[in-house]
C-alpha cells in the first residue's frame, strides 16, 4: 500500500516542480483570467449599478475560460516527450497516476484562480455573502472542471488546435456554471445557497469517481 502512496506522491511532486519550473503556462492562465475580469469594468463603467450585480458571474465565467486554456498542459508535455508511454505501461494502475496528474493540475491552476478571484472580489467591493458564495462554488467547481477537462485533454492530446478542447468541455461544464451563478445570486439576495452547494458537491463526487477511470481508458485508446 505504501508504494502506491509513494508513486502518487512522486508523480504529483514531479508535475508540481514541472509547472513551477516552466512558469509560462502558469502565468499565462492567471494573467488571462485577470485581464478578462478587468475588461468588464472598463466596458460597463466602474460605478454602474449593473456592474456589481454581474461581477460574480463575470469572475466565474473567466475562471471557466482560464481553466479551459490551462487543461491542455496536463498531458501535452508528457505526450510530446514520450513519458506518457511510461505512465501507461508501468506496474502501477494508470487510474492512480492519472488522478495524481489531475490533482497536480488543480493545485497549480485551480487554487491560484480561487485566490485571485477572491482578491478581485475584495477589490471590486463585493459583499461578504457573495464572497462566501463565490468561494464555495469555486472550491467545488474548479475540481469538476479539472476532472472533466482532463478527460477531454486526453481525447484532444496531440491534435492540432486547442479550440477542440474548449468546444468539448464547455457544454459539459454548463451545469457547474449554472448552479454557481444561481448560488451567487441567491447569496446576493440573502437567500440560503445550500441547495446549489449540494448539487455542486454531488457533481464533484460523480466527477471524482468517474473521471480518472474515463481518462485512463481514454489514454489507452489514444495511444493505441
Amino acid at each position: 500500500m505504501l508504494e502506491y502512496i509513494n508513486i502518487f506522491y512522486v508523480i504529483f511532486k514531479r508535475d508540481l516542480t514541472l509547472t513551477f519550473r516552466e512558469k509560462t503556462d502558469f502565468i499565462n492562465s492567471l494573467a488571462f483570467f485577470i485581464i478578462i475580469v478587468l475588461l468588464f469594468p472598463l466596458t460597463f463603467g466602474s460605478k454602474s449599478e449593473l456592474l456589481n450585480t454581474i461581477i460574480p458571474g463575470i469572475i466565474w465565467i473567466s475562471a471557466l475560460l482560464a481553466t479551459c486554456l490551462s487543461l491542455e498542459t496536463i498531458f501535452r508535455s508528457d505526450f510530446e516527450d514520450g513519458s506518457i508511454e511510461q505512465l501507461v505501461l508501468n506496474r502501477y494502475p494508470l487510474i492512480l497516476l492519472v488522478s495524481a496528474k489531475i490533482l497536480a493540475h488543480w493545485i497549480t491552476f485551480g487554487i491560484p484562480i480561487i485566490v485571485i478571484s477572491l482578491t478581485l472580489g475584495v477589490i471590486l467591493s463585493l459583499s461578504n455573502e457573495i464572497m462566501m458564495a463565490l468561494f464555495i462554488t469555486l472550491i467545488l467547481g474548479t475540481p469538476i472542471l479539472s476532472l472533466l477537462g482532463s478527460v477531454m485533454a486526453v481525447l484532444t492530446m496531440g491534435l492540432h488546435g486547442s479550440m477542440l478542447l474548449s468546444i468539448l468541455i464547455l457544454p459539459l461544464s454548463m451545469p457547474v456554471l449554472i448552479f454557481s451563478t444561481i448560488a451567487i445570486q441567491n447569496a446576493s439576495l440573502g437567500l440560503p445557497i445550500v441547495a446549489e452547494t449540494y448539487f455542486l458537491a454531488g457533481i464533484l463526487i460523480l466527477a471524482i469517481t468517474l473521471a480518472p477511470i474515463a481518462a485512463a481508458s481514454a489514454l489507452r485508446i489514444r495511444l493505441s
Binding site: 512522486v10 514541472l18 516527450d81 514520450g82 513519458s83 505501461l89 506496474r91 493505441s224
Partner: protein, 209 residues
C-alpha cells in the same frame, strides 16, 4: 522460469498488412532482434507485444496468461523504452532518475552517480536535462535499464544516437541481463548488432505484405 509467447499475431496499418501469422515463443535468457527497413512495422510489433497497441488479430501470452486479461501482472514485469527517451527536459538528471526509480518500484536504495558513471555520463546529476546533448539524453533515458528490475525488456532502437563507446555499454548490459535470466526484445535497422550472444532474429520487410 517465465515464458513469453505470441500466437499468429497480425497487424494491419492503414490497410497494408505489416505482418501476419507471427508465432514466437521466448523463454528465459532469450534475446530477440527485430530488424527491417524503416516503416516495416518494427516499432508496431514492439508496441503490440508490450501492450501499448492492440493487434488486429492474435494474442500475447505471458506465462500462458493473456496479457490483456492479466494486464498489471504482465506490466509489472516489463520495461518499455520507445524512440523518445521519455525524460523531462526541465528536471535535473537526478530528479528524472528518481522518477524512474519510483516508477520501477525497486525498493532498494540506488546510488545514481554510480549508474551515471556506468552509462558513461559521470557527475551530471545536477545538470538540467535540457542543457545536455542528444546522445547524453539518450543515455539518461537508458539508465532505466540499470534501475528497473523487470524481467522482460522491449527496447526500440536502443543503439541509435549512441557513439561506439555507448553501443558497447548497452550491449554489455543487455547481455548481462539475458545471462541472469532476463528476456530482451530489441529493434534495429542495421544488420547484426550483437554478435557474441545466441539471438533469435525476425526480419520484417515488405515481403510479408
Amino acid at each position: 522460469m517465465s515464458k513469453f509467447s505470441i500466437n499468429n499475431l497480425e497487424c494491419v496499418r492503414q490497410n497494408n498488412i505489416l505482418f501476419q501469422g507471427l508465432n514466437i515463443t521466448i523463454k528465459d535468457h532469450g534475446l530477440l532482434q527485430i530488424n527491417g527497413a524503416n516503416g516495416s512495422g518494427k516499432s508496431s510489433l514492439l508496441q503490440i507485444c508490450s501492450g501499448l497497441i492492440e493487434p488486429t488479430a492474435g494474442e500475447i501470452l505471458w506465462n500462458d496468461k493473456n496479457t490483456k486479461k492479466y494486464r498489471y501482472e504482465f506490466q509489472s514485469n516489463i520495461l518499455y523504452l520507445g524512440h523518445t527517451n521519455a525524460i523531462k527536459s526541465s528536471l535535473t538528471v537526478e530528479e528524472n532518475m528518481k522518477v524512474m526509480h519510483a516508477m520501477a518500484g525497486t525498493k532498494s536504495k540506488i546510488d545514481y552517480s554510480i549508474i551515471l558513471e556506468k552509462i558513461g555520463i559521470p557527475n551530471t546529476n545536477e545538470i538540467l536535462t535540457c542543457n545536455i546533448s542528444a546522445g547524453q539524453k539518450r543515455r539518461v533515458g537508458l539508465t532505466r535499464l540499470f534501475i528497473s528490475k523487470s524481467k522482460l525488456w522491449f527496447l526500440d532502437e536502443p543503439f541509435n544516437a549512441l557513439d561506439e563507446q555507448g553501443k558497447k555499454i548497452i550491449e554489455k548490459i543487455i547481455i548481462k541481463h539475458c545471462k541472469n535470466g532476463g528476456i530482451v526484445f530489441f529493434t534495429t535497422h542495421q544488420e547484426m548488432e550483437i554478435n557474441n550472444y545466441p539471438l533469435q532474429n525476425i526480419h520484417l520487410g515488405n515481403n510479408n505484405a
